[in-house]
C-alpha cells in the first residue's frame, strides 16, 4: 500500500512562496495502478519526486508499504565516466543484490554491444534511455513510477518496454504520469487529474479524461463541479 496523505509542496521563489499543490491525498494498493493526468507544469513530476522520496513534502506524509522504484528510465543518476556495467554494479550494490546474473539481461535489452563497457558519456540519448530502463527492470519493485515523458525511444524500444513492464510485470502496481490521454487510457484502470494545485478523483478513466479536456480549454464551471 502506498498512501499519500494531505501532502502539500511549496517552493520558495523570488516572488515569494509558490504552492505546487495543496492537501493532496490518494492511495494505491499492491497490484493496482493509477494514471495522473495534468497539463504542463501541473506538478506531475513534482509528485513523482515526492513519491520516490527524492524530495520531501512541505506538509503531510507519504507512507510506503511497498518497494517503490525510482522514476523509470531515469538517467540523471548516471555518473558520466562510469561504464554501463559500472552503473549496473552501483544500483545492485545500493539495493543489495548480486549484479552478475543480471548482466545477460541488461546486455540483451540495451543492445549496447561493446559500449556496455564504455563510459556513459559516449552514449547517445537513446542508448542512455535503454540502459536506464534496463536498470529499472533489473531491480525487483512492487510499484513502478513512470513519467511518460522520460521514456522516449523508437518503436522497437517502446515495444520491448511494453513487454517488460505490462506483460512480464503485470502483477505489479504502477503510477503513470502523463499529459497524453492516450497513454493513460491504454494502460491505467483509473486516473486522477492534477489541476491548479488540486487533485481531482473520478470513478473511471473516461470521466477523468472528459474533465482533463475541460481543464485544457479552461472551463471553470466544469472544474468547480468536481472540486473536492
Amino acid at each position: 500500500m502506498l498512501s499519500v496523505e494531505h501532502v502539500s509542496k511549496t517552493y520558495e521563489t523570488r516572488h515569494g512562496p509558490y504552492k505546487v499543490f495543496d492537501n493532496v491525498s490518494f492511495a494505491l494498493r499492491r497490484g493496482r495502478n493509477l494514471g495522473i493526468l495534468g497539463r504542463n507544469g501541473a506538478g506531475k513530476s513534482t509528485m513523482i519526486r515526492l513519491i520516490s522520496g527524492a524530495e520531501r513534502p512541505t506538509t503531510g506524509r507519504i507512507r510506503r508499504g511497498m518497494r517503490i522504484s525510482w522514476p523509470l528510465a531515469f538517467a540523471g543518476a548516471f555518473a558520466h565516466n562510469l561504464t554501463g556495467l559500472d552503473n549496473l554494479k552501483f544500483v545492485c550494490r545500493v539495493y543489495g543484490i548480486d549484479y552478475k546474473p543480471l548482466v545477460p539481461f541488461v546486455e540483451d535489452f540495451t543492445e549496447l554491444g561493446t559500449f556496455f563497457r564504455e563510459p556513459v558519456m559516449h552514449y547517445s540519448h537513446g542508448m542512455m534511455t535503454r540502459l536506464a530502463f534496463a536498470l529499472s527492470m533489473a531491480i525487483e519493485f512492487d510499484c513502478f513510477l513512470i513519467d511518460e515523458a522520460m521514456i522516449v525511444g523508437d518503436v522497437r524500444f517502446h515495444e520491448r518496454c511494453h513487454y517488460e513492464l505490462f506483460q512480464k510485470r503485470k502483477d505489479r502496481a504502477f503510477i503513470l504520469v502523463s499529459h497524453d490521454v492516450n497513454a493513460i487510457k491504454t494502460y491505467c484502470e483509473n486516473a486522477v487529474v492534477l489541476h491548479e494545485g488540486r487533485l481531482f478523483a473520478f470513478p473511471n478513466v473516461d470521466a477523468a479524461y472528459t474533465f482533463y479536456l475541460q481543464t485544457l480549454v479552461e472551463k471553470p464551471e466544469v472544474i468547480e463541479q468536481w472540486r473536492m
Partner: protein, 265 residues
C-alpha cells in the same frame, strides 16, 4: 528496536553499510578514473601537496632558530594535519549538488554522500602521512615517532574535527550559497593560523592565547608532542578541542537533517 521506518537498528545499519560501499566505489571511479594511476591518486594527490610544501619550507628554513626540530618532520606533520581538517570539507561542499539525482534511490541519503567523501579524504590523508613518514624515516630525514599512541590520538582528534566541520559546512550549502563562497577564503586564512607552520611556543604570549581558540591548533600540537616528545614544548587542551568537535558534530548532524528536507530539483 522499532524505528520510524519499521526497520530494526541492525537492518538499517546493513542498508547504510551497502549504500556507503556503493557510493565509495562510484566516487573512486568518478574522481580518479581508470587511466594511469587511477585510485592511487587518492594517496598520490595529498602526497604531492605535502612533498611540495616540505620542499618549500625546507628551502625557506622555516623551523630554524635552534628549536631542534628536523624541518622535514615539521613540514610533514604540519601539512598532513591541514589535509585532515580541510580536505573533507572542501569535498563535501559540492556533495549535495553533485549527488542529488542519487536520492531517487530510496536508501541513499545526504548523510551517506557526506560520510563517503569524509571517509575517502581521511583514508587518503592518512595513507599519505604514513607513506611519507615511513619513506623519510627510512632515508633518515625524519626521526622515529617518540610516542605512537599520542600521535594516533592527535590524528584521531584532527579526523574528528575534519569530519564534523565537513558535515556542518557541506550541509550549510543547502541553506545558502554564501557558505560555498566563504569556505575557500576562510580555509585559506585558517591555514597560516592552524599551527601547521609554527609551534605555539614560538609565539608571543598574547598571540598564543588567540591561536589557541582554534581547535585545529590543539590537534597539531598534540600530534607533534607525540612525534617529537619533549624536544619541544607543546600547548594543547584536548578537553577544549573535544568540546569544539562535539558542538560542531551536533550542529553538523542537525544541519544535515534539515538540509535533507530542503533538497530541491
Amino acid at each position: 528496536m522499532a524505528t520510524i521506518s519499521g526497520l530494526s537498528f541492525f537492518q538499517s545499519l546493513e542498508i547504510q553499510g551497502r549504500v556507503l560501499h556503493a557510493l565509495m566505489m562510484r566516487e573512486l571511479i568518478t574522481r580518479f578514473g581508470r587511466d594511469n594511476l587511477g585510485v592511487l591518486w587518492l594517496v598520490g594527490e595529498p602526497m604531492i601537496f605535502t612533498l611540495g610544501v616540505t620542499t618549500l619550507w625546507s628551502a625557506a628554513g622555516l623551523a630554524h632558530g635552534g628549536t631542534g626540530i628536523p624541518i622535514v618532520a615539521f613540514a610533514v606533520t604540519g601539512y598532513s594535519s591541514v589535509l585532515m581538517w580541510r580536505n573533507a570539507t572542501s569535498h563535501c561542499i559540492g556533495g549535495i549538488e553533485q549527488n542529488k539525482p542519487l536520492l531517487f534511490h530510496r536508501s541513499v541519503l545526504i548523510i551517506d554522500v557526506f560520510l563517503t567523501r569524509i571517509a575517502l579524504e581521511i583514508i587518503g590523508a592518512t595513507s599519505s602521512f604514513i607513506v611519507l613518514s615511513l619513506f623519510f624515516i627510512f632515508i633518515g630525514w625524519m626521526p622515529v615517532p617518540n610516542n605512537l599512541l599520542i600521535v594516533l590520538a592527535g590524528w584521531i582528534m584532527l579526523a574528528w574535527l575534519g569530519a564534523s566541520l565537513a558535515l556542518l559546512v557541506g550541509a550549510g550549502t543547502a541553506f545558502s550559497h554564501l557558505v560555498h563562497r566563504l569556505w575557500h577564503p576562510v580555509s585559506y586564512l585558517l591555514f597560516p593560523m592552524s599551527g601547521a607552520a609554527f609551534m605555539v611556543e614560538w609565539l608571543p604570549k598574547r598571540l598564543q592565547d588567540v591561536v589557541l581558540y582554534l581547535p585545529m591548533v590543539h590537534g597539531v600540537e598534540l600530534l607533534r608532542h607525540g612525534y617529537f616528545g619533549n624536544v619541544v614544548r607543546t600547548h594543547y587542551d584536548i578537553g577544549y578541542m573535544a568540546k569544539c568537535c562535539l558542538v560542531l558534530t551536533l550542529c553538523g548532524l542537525y544541519a544535515v537533517r534539515e538540509a535533507s528536507r530542503r533538497v530541491e530539483f
